[in-house]
């Protein structure tokens, strides 16, 4: 980082009568009790020179403005002298006034002004002089051509190196004499390199950076292209100084690709963004379109979706979205197609099933209901009114007339003696063929022909069940058993389904892994960049000191010798 050239010195003592105070906001102010006056400025002494605020090197474009300022000590030409001809003195770009571009309407910050401080002729390069600024930066200036560059041209490199060595020697001598800490701002080696410069090679201007790295040692300011590509430079320097390095997707992709090559990875093993290219071989398990359609159908089956419902209802409910199988198909159009196909199939299956299963007699539930609720004390209209909300009473399959008839019959039968009812029931049971009623029949699963008979419900359920059970136990076994069918098909279907499920899970796992790997790679890349940055920073620090130490050591050796 750039260090201020300002040396903090103890302020001169206050004149008599004045006292120093701290305001609640943190300002210091001065109060004279005798005069009853207070002031922010230090009385009877030049106001404490304001230390230039520490500037961020990433804002180094500020220097241009500063260089444009006149300073008589730097020479007569400094007024209209503008490095690279792009500066406010030249009137080329108004945008340089504030924080670079006019597009940003942030209020201008208090800016440190940088001024030329001293100039040194460069030996063996006559028209050129090296100008040091107040903030410790420097540039070269051609007095004849009236040109100046922050970036030091190659031909001046040797001269400036010599000059530097000379100055370091002087410094070292002075330091040795006075045993005083050297003002680092004065040191020519106080190289200012923004950390942004380090990661920049990744962005593709590798060529310039390479050649700039040759004379990194003499380079004092940021490496900029000789001919000045202001728009580009501005862009890079306008980045928020708080955010150290900003990555865009290109950087990441580039890095990933580079790392992939480094480790000899297949493109499929890290996610390089263009999946389509490596989808075929790189990933483990394949999901064909049929599979994904079947997965979606499984999903529809599992959620018990009504095949008769409209598609819009399905979407509005949004039950399916949370399931991963929903992603098996990637467009809504495909999903709708598959849903249509599925509902068509499903409806067909349902119809077949319904046709196959024997029609459930609507009398059975009604009769069971009668047995529970019928009461000889209630007439039919009363009964109907009392239970009009029951589903058995509302069932459209049974006519109201039939219902009434059953009710009256049942009530009449309840008045008969128990023995008649029992013999009636036994007669009913005896009438059933052995294929329907045999000793394998469970008393809870009696054939519908019995359940739908009014005789069956006339007796109390407990007494009736015992009677039926004893009768069934006396019956012969069923004539022949029907072998179980369709098991093979069922097993096959289940296996197929499991396979599809597994394929989808595999895919999900793969995706998760890819994500993880990408994240890790990114972290790794960032870490490496950080490390590099630190390394560079360290290297910059060391070179200066090392050179100094080296020179001093030489001198010491000379002296002893």
């Amino acid at each position: 980082m750039l260090k201020s050239t300002h040396k903090v010195t103890a302020p001169p003592p206050l004149p008599e009568g004045w006292t120093e105070h701290k305001a609640p906001a943190g300002h210091t102010y001065y109060y004279n009790a005798s005069l009853q006056k207070s002031t922010y400025t230090r009385p009877a002494a030049p106001p404490t020179p304001a230390a230039p605020p520490p500037i961020d090197p990433t804002q180094s474009f500020l220097q241009y403005q500063a260089v444009g300022n006149s300073n008589p000590s730097a020479g007569p030409n400094f007024n209209n002298f503008s490095p690279q001809g792009q500066f406010p003195g030249g009137g080329g770009r108004g945008g340089f006034q504030g924080r670079g571009r006019g597009g940003h309407d942030r209020p201008p910050r208090p800016q440190p002004t940088d001024k030329p401080k001293s100039r040194h002729p460069i030996p063996e390069c006559e028209p050129w002089v090296l100008v040091h600024t107040k903030l410790g930066r420097r540039f070269v200036y051609n007095t004849e051509k009236d040109q100046s560059y922050w970036r030091i041209p190659d031909k001046l490199k040797d001269g400036i190196l010599a000059l530097d060595q000379l100055r370091i020697k002087e410094k070292a001598e002075a330091w040795a004499k006075e045993k005083e800490p050297v003002d680092s701002g004065e040191a020519p080696g106080a190289t200012v390199r923004p950390p942004v410069a380090a990661p920049e090679p990744a962005q593709g201007n590798g060529g310039e950076v390479e050649d700039s790295s040759e004379y990194e040692e003499v380079e004092v300011t940021d490496d900029e292209d000789e001919d000045g590509n202001p728009s580009k430079r501005q862009k890079t320097e306008e980045q928020d100084p708080d955010a150290p390095v900003e990555f865009n997707e290109d950087d990441i992709a580039f890095q990933l690709a580079a790392m992939g090559q480094e480790y000899g990875l297949e493109p499929g093993e890290y996610d390089d963004g263009n999946m389509e290219e490596w989808e075929e071989g790189a990933e483990g398990l394949e999901i064909t379109h049929e599979d994904s359609a079947a997965l979606f159908k499984d999903l529809l089956n599992d959620f018990g979706i009504n095949p008769y419902s409209p598609w819009e209802k399905l979407i509005e409910e949004g039950k399916l979205v949370d399931d991963i199988r929903y992603t098996a198909l990637n467009t809504m159009k495909l999903r709708k197609e598959v849903w249509e196909e599925w509902s068509r199939e499903k409806i067909k299956v349902l119809r077949e099933l319904r046709a196959k299963e024997e029609r459930r007699d609507p009398r059975i539930p009604y009769l069971a209901f009668l047995q529970r609720q019928a009461n000889p004390k209630l007439y039919w209209p009363e009964f109907k009114r009392k239970y009009r909300k029951e589903t058995e009473m509302k069932d459209t399959a049974l006519a109201d007339k039939d219902r009434e008839k059953f009710y009256r019959d049942h009530i009449n039968r309840l008045k008969l003696p128990q023995s008649t009812l029992k013999s009636d029931l036994l007669n009913l049971l005896k009438d059933q063929p052995t294929s329907v009623l045999n000793n394998a029949t469970l008393s809870s699963h009696l054939p519908p022909s019995i359940l739908a008979d009014i005789k069956y419900i006339s007796i109390e359920p407990t007494a009736r069940d015992a009677l039926v059970e004893t009768y069934i136990s006396t019956l012969p076994p069923p004539p022949e058993s029907i072998p179980e069918e369709e098991t093979e098909e069922g097993i096959k279907e289940r296996k197929e389904r499991e396979r599809r499920q597994k394929a989808l899970e595999d895919r999900e796992r793969h995706v998760a892994e890819e994500k993880r790997r990408q994240k890790r790679n990114l972290e790794f890349g960032k870490g490496r960049l950080r490390e590099e940055e630190q390394e560079i920073a360290r290297a910059m620090n060391v070179t200066k000191k090392g050179l100094k130490d080296h020179l001093m050591g030489e001198e010491g050796a000379d002296k002893t010798a």
């Binding site: 009504n306 095949p307 008769y308 419902s309 409209p310 819009e312 209802k313 249509e340 509902s343 068509r344 409806i347 067909k348 459209t396 399959a397 109201d400």
Partner: protein
């Protein structure tokens, strides 16, 4: 909507009605909501748009069940039409080529327009200007040409 008759006089709907009863109920609830929604802030010509829309959706639902999925019997389909669950005239248009997606009957009534033309929503998207979004005046349709 079907006329409401007393339960004792009501004839049971044909078999299969119980399958679609819930969905039809949803549609009729939606329709009730749309009918009762306040129209104070709605432009005059847009007031009936939701009604048209729900009616279209319900007719489409019945049409697809019968003609495309073959999920309901002919008896049930006719019963539905008779009881006003679907618009028979609109469905009759959907069976003709070029009218497969027709939004409402008003949009093909050429006699009602100034230049004896159909509604703008009948114009295929391909013949419209780029990014021209329309909502037709009669039912708010955004385009119902068969080629869309």
């Amino acid at each position: 909507m079907p006329a409401i008759r007393h339960a004792s006089k009501r004839k049971a709907p044909p078999a299969g009605f119980s399958d679609i009863e819930d969905d039809l109920l949803i549609f009729s609830n939606k329709m009730k909501d749309a009918e009762n929604a306040p129209t104070t802030n709605v432009p005059r010509h847009q007031v009936h748009w939701p009604i048209f829309q729900i009616s279209h959706q319900r007719s489409r639902y019945v049409y697809e069940l019968y003609y495309e999925k073959e999920a309901i019997s002919k008896q049930l389909y006719e019963w539905l039409l008779k009881n006003g669950y679907a618009d028979a005239m609109l469905i009759a248009k959907w069976k003709k080529t070029g009218y497969e997606k027709l939004c409402c009957l008003r949009c093909v009534q050429t006699k009602e327009t100034n230049f004896n033309s159909t509604c703008i929503c009948r114009v295929p998207k391909a013949q419209m200007k780029e990014d021209q979004n329309i909502e037709c005046v009669s039912c708010g349709c955004r385009g119902c040409a068969s080629s869309d």
